[in-house]
Symmetry: C2
Subunit: 753 residues, 2 copies
């Protein structure tokens, strides 16, 4: 509906003439509020690409981004956030709050009279005090401009005890953050330093510390500090496991106060160095301009055709913006080791991002993609396992597979530079061969002993249903890497293992017209119809392909399928679609099954296990059906407003699903394969390191939504899949559109994957 209108608005055939004119300012189309309400959970405050400082308002302890729309009260501005997360909270550290009421109070929550959110900039004006806060940021330094009204005192609270959901009595006790300690010191009449230390949170991580250094351009005329709830005149508060903070008062003539807050994972002096080196001036505009340029450099890698409707541009470029907010580049900020390698943190989680966000990074920013993989290997080397999720410098939690295996295979297939491939192979073999034991929540593959002896995961092992399909896929990734490295012995083994999902495939299970599903299996090989849940009472219940026991018969983590059911996970076999089609009873039965899946719908675009399923039509030679599902899904579930994302953005995973499909490309992570289908924009240029790659359309219109033929670099291209090398060296892909499907579409690739 929306999409149709948009496409109708851009009827022109539009081969982009690259370089012919200056690219328009892509930042115009980035709206950080898209995906901020509903389940998107994106952070709305400013951030550099992969930036460590993510200052943003914190409202009554929203558990994810901290932000809530007006009229929720604002506790202040914490310096560290994540974006698009679900589950338990993480971060929300070092809260700043300007106030005008009293130096006798620690907390000063206020309401917004107005709020303005732009990429790289935030402003709000408080109702109670009239204080205006402008905010921008560099990589590790938040930069504030507080404007105080004439009346009232000019105060600023610095709270080292705050973290997300601190004051939220409804926060669940599992995955909760726990305060460990803090310090604060007034260094001079314009400097404050200290730290906060927190543990737990979504990934049940070890304690992490955020050190800070605050400098203001106006002198403090009075300062107080606190510990626990007690205010005092002490200039410093050492760590006794209690919350500390400071109240800073500026002169009444100081109507405008600029404050920079450098942060570091290493120490207070490093935080000072970060602040002073990144922002050696007092101009927010200058910092904003640098920040904007860093985003333009990245977002400008994709140049949508000018005639693309603004709404689609807004969806697309905001999606790219979301993609590169995380993971956080903490190179030079690793408190755990010092090996000269890049260091990324806050993968939340690879389970979410390996499918779309990471392929987007590898496509548009291959050097960064390589750095990311090197950082995974550095983590393996020092922490003994690759992470699936990692935050606050701790591995955990692992929802299903050891998906770093897939990221690494992807990097190999895409030829990313500078990676130690022998170490990479060692790292993925650790996942495949060494059970993580009691640490399986944090890393490796839980149930590995059973997987490697029985060949399946018996019921009772948490998340056996999704783990079997994910481990099989991870093993396929290891096969790709081993084959590439000439390790035929390993390649043979892991290709064999990549079929283990079939051991958990119950061929006689029929549901809603479909036959064959991933189902609970007993250790002795038998197939139970009724199973006992994993809550202590072990309630027995029927298990069918729509069953999801989470919250009813077991916790979200102890159920058979993580965040899904068998309808979804049984189609989640991207590494062996021909085998899947055969297991489902052949192409006709498979076609019916897919139709049922999308019509009911059982499909859930808002969560990653469903991400790939529309592309399954490609293996039936029906890219038109893929495109139709994509188009319908985007029309129904995405828009360019605050509720424009259907589920947690998950570090850009959902946004990148959208962006790839808008381009008519979809990466199959862990394979050298992009799925091609009818693009939803009239054209674009990918400005890649290897050269510009043009995607053009002919006859593009809402009516002409079908691909009749494709030309690659001027030659007819009969395939519906594309190799990475054919993309990254630059070139031209032309979709010839029509009102009906054409001959194109029957063959995926010359040799099937």
């Amino acid at each position: 509906m929306l999409l149709r209108a948009l496409i109708l608005a851009s009827l022109l055939l539009s081969p982009l003439s690259a370089g012919a004119k200056a690219q328009e300012d892509v930042l115009r189309y980035v709206d950080p509020t898209i995906g901020s309400v509903g389940k998107g959970n994106v952070v709305i405050g400013p951030s550099t690409p992969f930036g460590m400082a993510k200052p943003s308002p914190d409202c009554s302890n929203h558990h994810a981004s901290g932000w809530l729309p007006m009229p929720a009260p604002v506790e202040g501005f914490a310096q560290v956030h994540l974006s698009g997360t679900g589950g338990g909270p993480k971060y929300g550290n070092l809260l700043l709050q300007p106030f005008s009421d009293s130096m006798e109070k620690i907390r000063h929550p206020q309401h917004r009279r107005s709020e303005c959110i732009e990429p790289g900039w935030y402003n709000s004006i408080y109702e109670e005090s009239g204080i205006s806060t402008d905010l921008t940021v560099s990589r590790r330094t938040s930069f504030y401009d507080f404007k105080y009204p004439a009346s009232g005192l000019h105060g600023l609270a610095v709270d080292c005890g705050f973290f997300l959901t601190l004051n939220n009595p409804n926060a669940p006790s599992c995955e909760k953050q726990e305060f460990v300690g803090s310090e604060i010191e007034i260094l001079s009449d314009h400097e404050v330093t200290g730290y906060t230390r927190i543990r737990g949170g979504w990934n049940d991580g070890r304690a992490y510390t955020v050190y800070f250094y605050l400098a203001s351009d106006q002198p403090f005329i009075r300062t107080r500090t606190w510990k626990g709830e007690a205010l005092s005149e002490a200039r410093w508060q050492g760590d006794s496991g209690e919350a500390t903070g400071a109240l800073l008062q500026f002169a009444s003539e100081a109507r405008e106060v600029r404050v920079k807050v450098g942060i570091s994972c290493l120490g207070c002096l490093k935080a000072r160095e970060n602040a002073l080196s990144e922002i050696p001036h007092w101009s927010l505009e200058k910092t904003r301009a640098e920040l904007e340029d860093s985003w333009r450099d990245i977002l400008g890698k994709v140049e949508l055709a000018p005639e693309t409707p603004d709404s689609l541009k807004r969806m697309f470029y905001t999606g790219l913006y979301h993609a590169f907010l995380l993971p956080v580049d903490k190179t030079g900020e690793n408190p755990l080791w010092n090996d000269g390698e890049p260091y990324y943190d806050d993968f939340y989680a690879l389970w979410d991002t390996f499918r779309t966000t990471v392929p987007m990074m590898m496509l548009l920013l291959p050097d960064r993609g390589a750095g990311f993989v090197r950082s995974l290997l550095s983590i393996y080397r020092h922490d003994k396992y690759l992470p699936d999720a990692r935050s606050g410098h701790s591995n955990g939690r692992t929802q299903g597979g050891s998906n770093a295996d897939i990221v690494i295979a992807d990097a190999w297939l895409k030829g990313l530079p500078g990676i130690d491939w022998d170490l990479a192979l060692e790292a993925v073999l650790q996942d495949a061969d060494v059970p993580p034991g009691g640490n399986q929540e944090a890393e490796g593959r839980g149930g590995l002993v059973e997987y490697n002896t029985l060949g399946f995961l018996p019921y009772g092992i948490p998340r056996a249903g999704n783990r079997i399909v994910e481990y099989s896929r991870c093993d396929h990734a290891i096969y790709q890497l081993a084959k590439g490295l000439g390790r035929e012995d390993l390649a043979e083994r892991f290709l064999r293992q990549s079929s283990r999902w079939k051991n958990q495939w119950r061929a006689d299970c029929v549901h809603d017209g479909a036959r064959g599903f991933i189902m609970p299996r007993n250790r002795d090989g038998s197939w139970p119809d009724r199973v006992a849940g994993l809550f202590p009472d072990h309630q027995v219940f029927d298990f069918n392909p729509l069953t999801y026991e989470g919250w009813k018969y077991s916790s979200n983590w102890d159920c058979f399928f993580y965040e899904g059911n068998s309808w979804i996970y049984s189609l989640c076999i991207p590494h062996d679609v021909p085998g899947l089609i055969e297991a489902c009873g052949g192409p006709e039965a498979f076609r019916q099954r897919l139709d049922t899946f999308f019509q009911r719908p059982y499909f859930e675009v808002q969560n990653e296990p469903s991400f790939f399923s529309p592309c399954l039509y490609h293996w039936l030679g029906r890219p038109d059906l893929t495109a139709q599902v994509i188009r319908n899904t985007i029309e129904e579930h995405f828009n360019d407003r605050a509720d424009g994302l259907p589920g947690n953005d998950d570090s850009g995973a959902t946004s990148c699903w959208l962006d790839f499909h808008l381009m008519g490309l979809y990466p199959v992570a862990g394979q050298d394969l992009y799925i091609l289908h009818a693009p939803l924009v009239p054209g674009l240029v990918l400005h890649l390191d290897g050269g510009d790659f043009h995607i053009r359309t002919q006859g593009f219109s809402d009516r002409n939504r079908y691909v009749r033929a494709v030309r690659l670099n001027g030659k007819d291209y009969p395939y519906t899949g594309l190799r990475h090398k054919d993309l990254v060296q630059g070139g031209e892909l032309v979709f010839i559109m029509g009102s009906k499907p054409g001959a194109w579409g029957t063959t995926l690739m010359p040799t099937s994957e």
Copy 2:
């Protein structure tokens, strides 16, 4: 020889009259140099009991305590050390070095002209500069007094980049410490602060940070700082992963400069708070007096009869002093969580200390013993496994069993207060049931899957030989706890499991007249005579009961027995001596086997697996033979000089073996049992919380070295074992000595353990 002479010198019958006169100053008899050369590796610098700051001179990077005797050059005084350790290095952080030569150099190694080492005090005078350094300490603050000669400048280097073996090109690459980062700042004309961050070391631990605050009583007239090798005039150096430090210069009139260095695991301000609260003055004498009192409180718990020869008093009280240097009480200094529980670190390792050091703590300082156990449980709760070793806030490494199980059972059997026993049971069951997987080097029980399915540990699993006997013993400890808690189901299971050592007992293996040994076993149950080592070349070799493959066929960690052979480990079954005697062919064969063991000798008093073996004679009704082995061993291997310990002191393990045996008592950890035998001192009083317990002798002399009878609280006591409750409530135990063994000795306890 020595011992005989000493005992000859104290022929008096000596019932102590407690309270009749003031106890003499036990500190007179503490000599921190005992065990400092050879393999003892004790730290010679001052420390409070369980103290965090252990400043001590660091000489050319000795890997353990840092100290070497003259004429080794001294690099300076680092603030953190361990005591008695073997294996790789740990700590050696924040080096101070006074100098007089030049402010243009970072390093100023010097030689000692003289050195004086006393409990709680250290002094040396440097040859090159003539600078005298006095040194004492409080819990977390080192306190220095530097006296500079008139000539030369008055300088002090503060090095945040130093750690043990930093400059040692011969340090092994495994277990090595790695520098992570550091910061330093000149705060004022008499204050410096900063930190050092190091990872790795013996336990392959995660990064730990030592923060410091230094204050001097004389102003700096000049300061410089460095980063890497570059000196500069900057007042601060942020963390860029390089070593930092400062050179401080005092005025030429400042001939005496006092410096305190507070340290903290939390932050720089906490370090400042520690320094200022612990030492709010500039008197080293006052701090020393407090330190000495804290040692007198603890060491005075045992009052040796005044007529005990001074040499034995020196050995005994220095042994007690060694016992309470570690673990380090870091309560209030835990950077990882904040749960109000006691927090101990630096168990290096329980494998060493559970046998003697921990029982000494539980006997003399039961509240501290309880706190120690609570800290183990707090570690379990937050780090998911009990530690066996732990240092720098990281579990690891685990040499054999999960010996915290035994510590916990010991605490239960000894009725220690304030422990959450349900949590304790949960924690030991985690060890017994949840394989640590890839983390087995750090915690839990490696090979647990095989142990729990096959009932033994097949050859190829690292350290299978010692693990089988240790796991069996740990399971016996769990049995004790489960039985005590009324969990009959678990008690029955773990009693059964505690016999699993028999599954690895090769009954037909005959060696040097003994039959039956713990030997390599194949997964299929067969017994190989030749095995393949675990180095990559898998060299095949004969395996006999004296084989130790370490370094030849495998690494120290991958061999069949950790630091031992089958002669030693096959006797290491304290929880089932009757079963062991039977397995060895009955009492007569067992007697012959023991005689062989001690006469060859295969016995190695310098390492813990042999600690218990002399007491095995008790189960044959021959405590006289136990006593004879003990006496011979002490005469041959212990003395009151610098080389007075036969092996690594291992956090007082070796010292406490000596001390218990000098008293005629030896604890069997994990059982409610003390072995009684002829004491080697004429009498003593244990000043216990429950009352004074007197151990007296009648007819004690070198000739009368045999116990003819024992009286407990005035009644004849026919048993050679004592229950904890009969000791801790106070009382009197009298050994009636004679020149030949008497009737006493045939029965261990009324009901056998």
